[in-house]
Structures are given as C-alpha cells and as structure tokens.
Point group: C2
Amino acid sequence: MKVLILGGDGYIGWPLSMYLSEKGHEVHIVDNFLKRYIEAQQGVECINSPSSLVKRIKTWNEVSGKKINFTVADISENPKLLYRILEDFQPDSIVHLAEQPSAPYSMLGRSQAINTQRNNVLGTLNLIYAIQAHCPEVHLVKLGTMGEYGQPNIDIEEGWIHIEHKGRSDTLLFPKSPGSFYHASKVHDSTNLEFACRTWGHRVTDLNQGVVYGTQTGQSKMHPNLAISFHYDEIFGTVINRFITEATLGHSLTVYGNGSQTRAYIYLEDVLRCVEIAIEKPADKYQFRVFNQFTEQLSINQLADKVALAGKSLDYRVTIDHIENPRVEKENHYFNAVSTHLPNLGLNPTFLTNDLILEMLKYLSDFKDFIDKSKFMPGVKWKNH
Amino acid sequence: MKVLILGGDGYIGWPLSMYLSEKGHEVHIVDNFLKRYIEAQQGVECINSPSSLVKRIKTWNEVSGKKINFTVADISENPKLLYRILEDFQPDSIVHLAEQPSAPYSMLGRSQAINTQRNNVLGTLNLIYAIQAHCPEVHLVKLGTMGEYGQPNIDIEEGWIHIEHKGRSDTLLFPKSPGSFYHASKVHDSTNLEFACRTWGHRVTDLNQGVVYGTQTGQSKMHPNLAISFHYDEIFGTVINRFITEATLGHSLTVYGNGSQTRAYIYLEDVLRCVEIAIEKPADKYQFRVFNQFTEQLSINQLADKVALAGKSLDYRVTIDHIENPRVEKENHYFNAVSTHLPNLGLNPTFLTNDLILEMLKYLSDFKDFIDKSKFMPGVKWKNH
C-alpha cells in the first residue's frame, strides 16, 4: 500500500514510518520541521539527540533494505507543493501527523496560539482541498486527541453520541471541551473533516489518542541513528516520559495539582499498530470514523506510584511532589471513555506494567548525563496572560 | 456605555453603529474592508451604492449631532493595532462582527476557504488575547449563526444541551454540524471563546443568528448617505433579500432544490435590538452565553409564497422556479430551534408580514435599473471542486 506520512519526522511519525516500511508498505514522508524549530526557539532538546531526517532515512534504507522517500514541505504554507505530492504519489492512505503537538506551547502566548491554530487548522484545510483535487478516494487517517473531549460527567463515546432529547433522537458529534488552544485546534480539524466527509464523500478516520509513552520500537533498536526523539521537558514531554526521566535522575516526580486528574494512555508501539489497523480497514466514503485510541485510564497519582515502585526496585531514590497545577483543569472529576473499535479490529493492548517501566528506565539510564533538570518544572502557566 | 464595533462597515455593523450611537452610547468602529474587497474581486455590488465609511460617519455625525469614531484595522493581521485600540478605548462592550460572512464565498475554492477561516478564526483568537491583555472584564458580544447547528433531528437548544447518557448527565455544548467552511469557522470561534470563558473568566455572548433580511432602519432613513449596503447576489445576498429583488424585476423567485429546507429568520431592526439587549445585560464572568437570535422559522417555499403574494398585490409578475440546489444540504428535514432568552430579556419580535415585504419592495423599486439579473443564479456549487 502507498502510505503518505505527514509529520514523519516526529515522535510518532518516525517510528510509524519505519514500522509501515518494514511491513512492506511504500512510505513517503512529508515534514516541515516545525517541531525542531520550536525546540530551538524554546531551548528544549531531546535526551537522545535523534539524527536528522536525511540521516534517519539513509540509515533505515541501508539497514532494512527497504526504501522510504521524503519531501520537505509545509502543508499550511505551501498548498501547491502539497497538491503536487498527492498528484504524483497517489497514496492509498494518508496519515496526518503534521500538527504542532504541544498544549503548553499553544498556551505560551498569542503568537504561539496563532501559530498552532494556523499550522494545524489551515494545514488540514489545505489537505482536504488537495485530497479533493487529486485523490478523493484516499483514506485519511488523522491524529486527534482524547483531550478534545475534556472531562465530561458522562461516558465519552467514540466521536459520535446518540442523544434522546424531548422525545426525539439523533446521533451527533460528541460535544467537545478542549483544554488548551492546541486541543481546540484538533476540535476545529474534526469539524472541518466531518464536513468534508458529509459534503464531498471523503473517508476519514480520526484517531483520538491518549497520552503516549515509550522510548523505543522494534525498528528503532536496529541502529543508533534510528533513535526516536524523546522529550521530558514541559513543552513536548508527556507525563509518563517526564516521570521516568525524573526517576532516573533521582528528582522527585512532579505531579501537577492533587494528581486526581485521570487521562487515557497508550504505549508507542500500540500507536503504530492502531494506525496499521486503521489503514488496513479504511473508513467508507462519506464516513467520518472516530477511534478512541488508548489502552488504559489512570490518574496522575497512579502513574507516579507505578513509576516510583519500579524505580525503587532499581534502588533509585524516588519521591513524589505535588506542585501547583500550571494548567486550568478539573481535579476530582469523572472520566470514563469508551474504546471498543480498535480492540474489535484486532488491537492487542499493552499496559503500563512494571516490566515496561523498567525497560524505559534502563534505556534512559544511558542518557542520565544529558538530562537538564531545570526543564522539569512548568514555566508555562495557563493563567499567565 | 463605550461600545467597540468590529466590522462596523457591514450590513449589520453600520446600522448597529448608528442605532447604538443614537441611543447615547460612545461608538468606535473598526473595519478592514475585507467585504468591500471581496465584492470587488467577485464583481458583485450593493444595489444602493452605500457610501464609504468615512462619508457615512461624517454624515451621521452631522445629521445626528452624535460622534462615532473609527479605526481602519485588520484584527487578524495586525494584532498590535488591535491591542492598542483596546488599551486606548477601554470598551465596556465589544460587538464582534468582523468576519467574512458568506457561505458561498467560503465554498468557492481552497484559497477562499483558507481566507475565511484565517480571517475569522485567527481574528477572533487575536481578539481573545487582546481582551486578556487590556480589558479582561469586557463583555464580548460575538455574531455566530444558526447555521452552526445544521439540521439535527432533535430540537436545537441555545448553545448548551443537557444530556442524559448511561445513567449520568452533564450540560455540554450543543453538537454542531456546519453547512460550509464559513459556518465551520463560526463553530471554531465558539470553541475558542468557550475555552477563554472557562479558562480565563471571559464574559461572552454568542449570538447564533438566523438569516437576516431588511433594507432600512430608523437611522438609515435620515439621509441618503446613511444607506445600508443591500446585496441580492449569490455571494452576499440572503434569501429573502434575493427573492424581493427578483420580484422587483419580474424575475422568477429562484428556490434552491425542493424548497422544503427550513431556516430561522430575523428582521434587521430586531438584530439591532437583540445586540442592545445583550450589551445591557452582560454575561457573567466565566459565562459562555448563547442566544439563538431569530424570530420565526420558515421553509424556503413559505418565503417564496409570501414574497409572491405581496408582489402580486402590486401587480408584479411573480413566478417561482425550483432550480438545482447548488448546496449540499438536507431537504425534508426536521427543524425546531429554541429561542427564549432574547424574548425573556425584552425582545418584541417583528415578523415577515405582507406589510413589511411591501415596504421592502417599495424601497427596491427605486433601484430597479441597477439590478443585474445575471447575479441571481448560483455559480458556486458545493460539489464543484
């Protein structure tokens, strides 16, 4: 299958590109390096100095005997190039990961909020038009986030909800309550994509993903140049990755607020499998299909306890600190999200076991000297404007 | 009260500015003339050659003895100027009408869809930050549209809906199903604004307005230079205004599709009153308040019949033609929207009576020679991409 991966240089995009390439798919990567640019601007860096995209691809092609191609392109700023890529490559599937992925970045200030919504929303809108122009039958797999839903007091269904109201009923998009201007940008995308499905017959799968964690995949282990970018900073570091890094350094685990906040989580290798499942079973024409892409729900306190337990088994000094919550978010809330589509299609879930945490701690121990503990504490405050 | 009117040169903005000025409010207009620019690009023009904003304001200030001020500014492209306006003027209320208002324009092609979402969504996002920086207590009254909701098979509540689901319940934003990339832009705005209320304590009233009709207001009648821009073309002409123009010329009324489509309508002078009501009773801090701003629901066929009846009483030859629907939209659908907030706060509704249609026909008869009937038929087709 011909798979176009937009944002193929990222934390998910790069391992996904290798994974699908190894499975025999013809992979073409597009990236504009916005994330690397923001890293430089914000002074944050990956712990494991991932190679440039050129070197990654060169190494992969040598090591695997497969062939990934790529184009450097900004889909939000250069629609003509995007049109040409779709016209020339004629993909069967497009995996769209080309979005600014950080909630804290989007809350830094006006220009970062604007950058986020411009890159994400206008980039996706350009993509919708490029698909309509050159490959209207393509299956678009788009990365959304569980954070679009917020924390409603009812169960979170997979994108759509059947509502009974005043003696009538309809199945409508699940109401959203995003927690940042980044999360809002993903809500906007979903709105635009659902319209394109309903109006033009596009086929879209929106993957509302939980918080990802993980350091390596089967493919990344094949050569050091294939390392996956690993962030632990407040801008790009997700919570489990940050806790594991803190534990490695003997720094207390920094729990935001009282730690009762519950979120959905997924292991990086499961993400790759989920995308594979989605492209193997495409959405129908006119279908805006939503998968809630996670494998378990945990509170921040539960995460911290799990990491602390694993750390202690290695004789790490692990303590837990509750710090002032930099975000405006509910604590002590109800949270229960449905996720049945992906398991029904064959996802065999991985859980955050002690062994898995130990494996991640072991990986990080090699990079101990590169950790900058000043990056643990949140500087971006939701109220700071 | 100090009222900042963004988009004060438009079909609603201009009569609203005069109305609130006459009521003794201190009105400051901001506009970037995007609508006049699109008029020129698309080769469509108002029937009644409205004056430039400078001449309008000069005439108003002379005729009324009041004083409207203005600044030419693009709130989506020039946030610094927007910040300065808010800092200097320190408004009590901001009425935000500075959005590209045409669904067909947004469906012309990629660049028009991008222009619409960039101008509307990023402009509103800049405004949110400008408010946070310089007047976080201000009451923002934002023009939304009933078209955000689409045509669900349940009653449309005012912005929020109480949902009972699997034994639990919550009150959440009403699910949206916008009918164009323009309507989607307003959904995005609502998402961003609700986040700003929830997170920063902003106070916002979102006016989800029905289709507006009307030619004059009490203020516009005071001098020819104060005329309100009147469009009948497919880009900016709303359906009742187009039907009345067609009847004036003896052209058949162009009903899209089978005409069963039902929408909500409101008379231009009622719009002014609704905005006045909103600014007199501001939303609370942290409140994202939504009013469904319309006074009656009618099918397109009912509209056509009413206009035909009035036209015949003037011995106009009025026929009705069903033409191919250029839009992708439901026909024969359920539609019932709630609107109780505005009547409860004092709105005394105007209805589309025979007398009102006759008054509009009379106004238009003076401009009969300026009507270009080639602008009646829709050229923008939702499927044309």
